[in-house]
Amino acid sequence: MAEKDSTFEAATRTVGSAGDLSSREHPSLALAHAIVPVRANGGFVLDLGPASGANISFFAERGCKLFIADLNSSLFGSTDSANRAEALELALVRDIPATETFDLILLWDLLDYLDDREIRILASRLQAVCHAATLLYGMVSIRKEIPDRPSRFEICDVRSIRYSPGSPLRRPAPLHKEPELVKLMPDFEVESTYLLRHGKQEYLFRRRRAA
């Protein structure tokens, strides 16, 4: 285990000052697959995280239009956790255009910060803006602790993403497992999943085909 961890350290790079809030680049295996739906003639990407110049540039270079919903600011700014389900419902209606369908939806680490009811609400709303080929890209922690707030993610290239923790404080991770996520997101199926050494499991979901 210790040997694996040292490999992990070598594969990442601290950006900025040292400390709990320093950002690091980590490899990604799912991202290259996630951009398949948008790499043909451009596409429409829904980013549920905060706006990032790097991500805007990444998708603009591929001729994509990007829609930023920034649920982090709606859910984890001043909203207390007791009212978060209502805040999520409101944000999903207010911040995501109902008339559009997207080719790729970036969930980032949001699933680690929502309870079961909130994941159901999110999945239910997202399936309405998906077409048959839409992919959802997300990740969950496989380590016991995660930052207290969702991280900020910036795409460096198709193989690496820079993570900036949303808080120096830590909290227990929900440690979602694949069957649990599939149960909470009944309209979606797992297209593929990738276990990464830095303690994340990346998921690609696709809308479940009608039986």
Binding site: R13, H33, A60, R62, I68, E191
Partner: protein, 203 residues
Amino acid sequence: MWKKNEEASQPGPPVPTSAARLQALEKASVIGPSIRIKGNLTGKEDLVIQGQLQGEVRLQANNVTVGKEGRIRADIYGRTVHIEGEVKGHLFAEQEVIIRASGKVQGNIVSPRVVLEKGSNFKGSIDMEPAAAKAPEASKEAPKEKPKEAPKQAKNSARATVTDPAGAPQPAHPIGSDPPANTKGDAQKSAASVPAPAPGNRP
């Protein structure tokens, strides 16, 4: 390629330098913090808005700045659009949109060049197609076309050159080719996209 603030841009006409911009700001008309306007603004000079405005701002040939005290509920058309305050509305710029760290925007951006400073707050879509910036009204109303064809070779070019985590420049993974199977020792746990062999077809 990147400034310290976060920038996403496509090639376009040169934008004013900060010195030139400061000079332009000095000559700009100012709507002060105590002014409230309901209606449409048009004109042919640069404008700084520190007050409250509801309606529409059309200064396509000029620079529009929403100052820190500005509170806008309007679509803004300008040559450049700089946001330091709050805007609920769409931003259309011929050259660039800059959302400063203090800026908060809820609306869509159509501009060939977009700069989001760290700490800025933005919700909405970003369209950096220059054609769309030149004809914002058409782009707003045009129905969105979904790609129907099978994936072709991607549009990647020299701009797709990136820096790897170790800092050494290397070509990005070719967009049109298959993604890497495995990198840096990370294990692919499962891939549902690879169908399991049917029982009858097992070797």
